[in-house]
């Protein structure tokens, strides 16, 4: 909780100390990856030993990963081979997983936008108006659409956003209160250490 006080109190030293604490906590977090990797290795090795389905892939995973870490550590992050691997695997894959969202949005929309009830109908009406406006062709040929769509996205959307912002913060702070008093998570065998 030390991090929270200085935002209100004008003592520069405390503020700086809070920043340092934040940095420390990030560093601690980064150290923890070792355990995560350790558990991943252990899991994959168990897969391989027990010849569970997909064990070949786990061999591949381990070898490839170790190799890449090795390359990264020996020659540094700006090394050509390392960069090649990053550019040809991480870059396209992250784009795919992100870009695939278009499909998911698409099917979710096509599935959920059915006029089952008044609520769903409202969803459809708003959705279709905005979609028509956003499609560049209709957007430029039916100018009458623009005020409605702008109204929907900016005014109605903003209203929802404001409500969300106001409502969520009380919930979030209350959660903190519950944690600090040891109610939340306490029953999980995670005693009252949060006050640190």
């Amino acid at each position: 909780m030390i991090g929270f006080v200085p935002y209100f109190i004008k003592v520069p030293q405390v503020n700086e100390f809070a920043n340092t604490l934040t940095n420390i906590s990030s560093v601690v977090g980064q150290f923890t990856i070792v355990i995560a990797i350790y558990s991943q290795y252990r899991r994959s090795l168990r897969f391989i030993r027990e010849r569970r389905k997909g064990w070949v892939y786990n061999i591949y995973l381990l070898t490839f990963m170790s190799l890449m870490i090795l390359i990264g550590f020996t020659w540094g992050e700006h090394n050509a081979t390392y960069m090649w691997l990053v550019n040809s695997i991480v870059a396209p894959c992250s784009s795919v997983v992100y870009g695939i969202l278009a499909f998911y949005m698409f099917s979710a929309g096509a599935r959920a936008f059915r006029a089952r009830s008044l609520k769903a109908s409202l969803l459809i009406v708003a959705g279709v108006i905005v979609l028509l406006y956003q499609a560049p062709l209709t957007g430029s040929y039916i100018p009458g659409l623009s005020p409605y769509a702008t109204f929907l996205t900016e005014t109605v959307g903003m209203s929802l956003n404001r409500m969300f912002a106001i409502a969520i913060i009380t919930g979030a702070i209350m959660l903190n209160v519950r944690m600090l008093t040891g109610r939340e998570l306490a029953f999980l065998g995670f005693a009252r250490e949060e006050e640190s």
Partner: protein, 265 residues
């Protein structure tokens, strides 16, 4: 920025009202907790559905997949942890396999350890520590979309009967929700920001809207002390509504900027 209404010495200017608000919420929260009087609580379908979903998977003999997000210790992750705790408890009692994908962000390595502690703790509390299997909580790298790819891979391979995806998920949430719909799992999600919520509302079976998620932990615990804190949240909501209404009325009838100045103080 409106002129300040008052200033508390020693407190950064423009932040005093916020401090009062926070202190107020702490005091009220502790007061209501001590009082422990059980308030009326409206049913929330999405949170009720969690136990239903776990039960359904148990009947079908399928695993339950429950994730808490991929961020650091933001409120949503903490809230999801407590949901995870309840799910783990139910799973331990009913001998249902629980899958928890972890990782996904370079700030989330510590959260992973906490999640493992929680699930392990629940299994131990249910008297079945040997049932806990860390292999079912795989680490799927610290990169957002490779986490997503791995997550989706788990959905395709293990075909869970229920997917409870709460906490700090961002854009990958849609991947997961649609995919779990495709593999026929009951999907319970929660959004952490508005556009995500809108999309998830279309894609999932049940969704925790707005602040149902931070309240979920208290709601699930059925502990009067925690339920009482939900009352405090409501008090603050009403307070903010009153501020808006009074502020608008006063400003537009008399031109008095009082409320905005109060807020900016």
């Amino acid at each position: 920025m409106a002129e300040l209404l008052f200033e508390i010495p020693g407190v950064e200017s423009g932040r005093a009202f916020g401090l009062i608000l926070i202190l107020g919420i702490f005091i009220l929260g502790i007061y209501y907790m001590r009082r422990g009087k059980l308030p009326y609580i409206r049913r929330v379908a999405a949170i009720d559905a969690i136990s239903e979903a776990v039960g359904r998977s148990t009947e079908m003999g399928k695993p339950v997949l429950c994730s808490y997000g991929r961020g650091g210790f933001a409120y949503s992750v903490i809230a999801a942890m407590s949901i995870l705790g309840h799910v783990a408890k139910t799973c331990a009692e009913t001998d249902t396999r629980l899958l928890v994908p972890t990782g996904g962000s370079h700030t989330g390595y510590l959260t992973r350890e906490l999640a493992i502690d929680i699930v392990k703790g629940q299994y131990t509390a249910a008297g079945k520590p040997e049932m806990f299997n860390e292999d079912d909580m795989p680490f799927l790298s610290g990169e957002q979309y490779s986490f997503t790819a791995g997550y989706v891979g788990m959905l395709v391979r293990d075909r869970p009967g229920a997917v409870i995806m709460t906490g700090g998920h961002s854009s990958e949430a849609m991947n997961i929700a649609e995919m779990s719909n495709l593999v026929g799992a009951l999907t319970i999600t929660s959004g952490t920001y508005v556009s995500n919520m809108a999309a998830l509302a279309c894609a999932s079976d049940y969704i925790m809207l707005v602040d149902e998620q931070p309240a979920a932990g208290a709601y699930l615990s059925k502990d009067p002390e925690q339920l009482a804190t939900i009352r405090v949240i409501d008090i603050y909501k009403v307070l903010s509504l009153l501020l808006i209404v009074v502020g608008l009325l006063v400003l537009n009838t008399t031109g008095n900027d009082f409320i905005r100045r109060l807020l900016a103080s």
